[in-house]
Assembly symmetry: C2
Homo-oligomer: 378 residues x 2
């Protein structure tokens, strides 16, 4: 159940109730691809850094350890010891970006495992079956994420097929949820709007998928090579055609600035690998911008990464210590940076929610975007 508590311009402050608890939106989902957040972060760490939803990847878990094994072990929640919401993607994005030698047909996609090269077939039904075995809170529809620079004709054909796949996903999920041994009989389904940067195709697709009355809707196929301005233009044009009374998820986005701009265009779910990937490379976020801890000027810097930050890194360790760990290639350096970055993202969302509640989102956004450029200006 999705309930809007407050709107401020196009920004929405809402609550999304699931069988695994209620999510306060706008929310940033923390990415744990193979049932763990990269950087040695455990589910027992997530309370401390303010995680509301964890996101895992269907394709990765299908190839290792296998979704049937996870079902046998009681589902993904039990496997990774996490009782709050989990969203699983459909596998589609990985099939189209990671796997080798793929062949797309009406039935689905045949491709090679990136681990051992063995042939795998995945269509809408298979994606739903895998996600049902995982028992996630929210399953994503199986879609084609078309190449960023595909032509109009390719995109139109792809979107038409993705729509037919969505109908099959909905039907298959209803069947799976009704089975007696299903892990999560309340599993929800989000549809995905596609169409590249062709707004008319995206709008038409948005209208058609809206009629299916799904639990939520995503904008997919963005942040794959187009400019930020093109992405914002798509959101300006397309989000108004998605149901306002359902959560809207912008997949794979993005930088703190992207999130601030997209919330302002009606988005309330986000996910991105930036905080964990950047953290593992010593790039850490502060309200004054991103800094690179490998920089020599932090060698004797006794300040925390960010003054006043409540994360497990800043509460205990200096920039000098974390930099030393990173230079010495100690895993602990990566863990501390990832914990900090996820805390930063999760608490950016807290601040965003407060600003919307108090009807001051426009000013908050401008101020936050301005502050983020501080280090760049030095």
């Amino acid at each position: 159940m999705y309930k809007i508590l407050k709107t401020d311009g196009r920004a929405k402050r809402a609550e999304f109730t699931t069988v695994h608890g209620t999510v306060q939106t706008p929310v940033f989902m923390n990415v744990g691809t193979v049932a763990a957040i990269k950087g040695a972060v455990a589910t027992t760490d997530l309370q401390q850094i303010g995680t509301q939803i964890e996101l895992s990847n269907t394709y990765h878990l299908h190839v290792r350890p296998g979704d049937k094994i996870i079902k046998q072990l009681g589902g993904l929640h039990k496997f990774m010891n996490w009782d709050k919401p989990i969203l699983t993607d459909s596998g589609g994005f990985q099939v189209f970006s990671l796997a080798g030698l793929r062949k797309i047909k009406e039935e689905g996609v045949t491709f090679q495992s990136h681990i051992d090269g063995h042939k795998i077939f995945m269509g809408p039904e298979e994606s739903m079956q895998i996600q049902s075995n995982l028992g996630s809170t929210i399953a994503m529809a199986f879609d084609e994420c078309a190449p960023a620079k595909a032509d109009r004709k390719y995109i139109q054909n792809s979107v038409d097929r993705t729509y037919r796949w969505l109908e099959r996903c909905k039907k298959e999920m209803a069947r799976l949820n009704s089975l007696p041994d299903t892990v999560n009989p309340d599993q929800m389904l989000f549809g995905i709007d596609q169409g590249g940067v062709f707004n008319d195709i995206r709008i038409d697709h948005a209208k058609r998928i809206s009629e299916l009355d799904l639990d939520g809707y995503a904008v997919g196929g963005l942040a794959v090579g187009e400019t930020h301005e093109e992405m914002y233009d798509v959101l300006d044009n397309v989000v108004p055609y998605l149901p306002q009374d359902k959560p809207t998820y912008l997949m794979g986005v993005g930088t703190p600035a992207n999130i601030l701009e997209s919330v302002d265009r009606g988005i309330d779910f986000f996910d991105c690998v930036y905080p964990s990937r950047n953290g593992r490379h010593g790039h850490v976020y502060t309200k004054f911008g991103k800094i690179n801890l490998f920089n020599a000027k932090y060698e004797t810097d006794t300040a925390p990464i960010e003054e006043g930050c409540g994360c497990p890194c800043c509460q205990n360790y200096s920039r000098a210590y974390v930099r030393h760990l990173l230079k010495a290639k100690e895993m602990l350096g990566m863990r501390l940076c990832v914990l900090h970055n996820l805390y930063y993202y999760n608490h950016l969302m807290t601040d965003i929610r407060a600003a919307i509640e108090e009807g001051r989102y426009a000013g908050f956004k401008e101020e936050a975007l301005y502050q983020m450029k501080t280090y760049d200006k030095q």
Copy 2:
């Protein structure tokens, strides 16, 4: 101050009071080579796994980030945010095992950094100066750790020089501790008995270093290639010649069985990289022996690594989950295994202390050694 609370055979149950708190012995020191325990373990994790003393390596910290930088930052305790005891080794072992192209003279050793090959000179004074800059609770004397198979003549010369180095260490530490800006003016010094497997040389050395009235004594140069029986034989012969009213530290040892046997020969300080190194490779300790989590039979094993274990891994995660993480090369798998293994070692010491206190050490040791072979027998 070292106070024996109870003896049971040759096993000693004691308290060692330092400026950074009191240590209950026998104790296993947890190795954090470059000011962090490998496997993404932070000092904030150590309370939970029962760590009493952390051990860091002088050579590594000298070459990176540099002991002068650590002094500038307030010393090692402040740098790594740990207020309990820290022991630093002398750098000697690394100079003789890790560094390239070394040249030993009466003054000290010239060698090449293993990081960038630059030439470094380290003698007794330099080792004490570095350890003073680090401000550890206990500094180790600078010694030569001679090759395991060195001949008698080499060993005798080496031990004579190591004795002269010890006198210089003692003098230099007294000077450093009296300086106004020293990090830890109460820094303690442990001497190291050497002599390979030549008991008469070791006994003679033990007698001579005992006269210097140091804060503690170590048996060094063991666990470098000799058999376990040779090592126990050295302990049987040498430990009686070290002061009984001072802590006795067996450097770099060892397996749980080695520890059980060595406590029975009067040892009360241990350190070893096994729990963290084995943990990073998925080899985990239980009271029934060591298991390899990569083994296929753990793929769907919902039990914790060890039933009843109170560690952060066993309290939250199954063998199946940890195995999956290890197979997927997720750092979290290594972290969880290292936390478990250190918890195991630290709590083995708790059990050892209780057994000595209750005067049942011999029986406890036999039972523990027998149980440890359970998995091997399956």
